[in-house]
């Protein structure tokens, strides 16, 4: 991955999103360089998931821009950023067919080989022929991450990757994310689990009411947050 051309850094500036007269995102700006795990945190409704969707291009912003170092985030016509949704979308097919479908949608060569590699990499080989929708929550999330990873992105957007999982499955997913980061994958994830953020993140972006209130290295954020809202949030006093 290193040395190859990359669409990173991602430069987000002045993002604005409005729905029904309400400003859901209000001038969000940050830069995402290569490498590391960046956690986007904040109370419910702060705009975390929306920010990921705007970065991934699922929603056009009403103001501001999302700009990539190369082109529109594509190299050779193929998007180099992938997203895993909070509730993983499992097609009504086998585990392997879910991978093949994504690879074929983006016209990868040798899809079968790539699918097999992704299955092996994420420990899903034994489940390859099982219907994806009958997997456990943790297995589904792992498949969703494997499916995103198989598309060879420079950056992965993970939306609450363990929101619906039990503690055991959560730990597994965290190990997967840590391993990806260790291999040099750039990760931007949202989470409402501060313990998880402490364990995984190098950097924290704190959103509150559609505004980016803090952008700090993780260690410093948890020791001494700059803003009163962040202090209250870390202390568990700020829910809305």
């Amino acid at each position: 991955m290193h040395g190859m051309p990359s669409i990173l850094p991602l430069d987000v500036s002045g993002l604005v999103l409005e729905r029904e007269g309400r400003r859901l995102l209000d001038g969000v700006s940050f830069t995402l360089p290569r490498g590391g795990v960046t956690a986007l945190i904040g109370p419910n409704g702060a705009g975390k998931s929306l920010t990921l969707r705007l970065c991934h291009g699922l929603i056009p912003p009403d103001g501001g821009r999302v700009s990539w170092a190369i082109g529109d985030g594509r190299i050779a016509g193929r998007p180099r950023h992938a997203m895993v949704f909070q509730r993983p979308v499992m097609l009504r097919r086998s585990v392997r067919a879910n991978l093949l479908h994504a690879l074929e949608a983006l016209s990868f060569d040798r899809p079968a080989g790539r699918a097999a590699a992704a299955l092996a990499r994420f420990g899903l080989s034994d489940l390859a022929e099982r219907p994806a929708r009958l997997l456990s929550g943790g297995e589904q999330q792992r498949l969703a991450i494997a499916r995103a990873w198989a598309l060879e992105p420079d950056v992965m957007f993970l939306d609450e990757p363990s929101a619906h999982l039990d503690p055991g499955a959560t730990r597994q997913i965290e190990q997967v994310i840590a391993a990806l980061a260790a291999e040099g994958m750039t990760i931007l994830m949202t989470s409402h689990d501060l313990g998880q953020v402490r364990r995984l993140a190098d950097r924290v972006l704190f959103l509150h009411a559609g505004r980016l209130r803090e952008d700090s290295p993780a260690e410093r954020f948890f020791q001494a947050p700059d803003s009163p809202e962040a202090r209250a949030f870390v202390a568990g006093d700020l829910l809305w």
Binding site: P79, A82, F85, L91, R92, A105, L106, R133
Partner: protein, 233 residues
Amino acid sequence: MDALGAMQAAIGLMVSFDPQFLQIVGLSLRVTLSAVLLAALIGLPLGAWLALSRFRGRSALIVLINGLMGLPPVVAGLFVFLLLSRSGPLGPLGLLFTPTAMVIAQTILVLPIVIALTRSTLDDLWQEYREHLTSLGLTGWRAVPTLLWDGRFALATGLLAGFGRASAEVGAVLIVGGNIANYTRTMTTTIALETSKGDLPLALGLGLVLMALTLAINAAGYAASRIGARFAG
């Protein structure tokens, strides 16, 4: 009513392999399967288009198509009759009183079922898959193959319902086919004819055969969709 006579007639018909009877059954199946196939070829893309597009009057169109599911076969038959009659707009094709005319009439009966079911199935699937497919660049027409494939079991049930409607109806095929012996005589028109001849046991026997066939096809379809549903989750 002579129930025993009917059973005897039904069993007799089935075990006799009477060539004329087999020809009638064969024609019925071919006409109906052709109609269902045609309706699928037209209805699946149309239903998909209706599921994925948003335009003025879409709701009205959906209501109209749902309503057409109740179109009386006789009306569909009359419509096709007027269309294909030598004095009608498509008269020069000379299709009236042919199996092709019956296929056209039954296609019209099955089409609304296929469109409506495809629309509602794909609507639901699209809600669920939208973000993932958009993420993969599969929007608009490019999403359709994925949605059709993943909705295949629900869609198969819809096609079976269409098959049932087409194979059971008599009004339309009688009008446009003319119930010509050895040519456009199907199971249902034969039943109508035998009833009018007063041969009620034979008519009822044919009815039993028709029901057995319909049951067998539905059982096969149901089993396939159950197995499939278990597989697809």
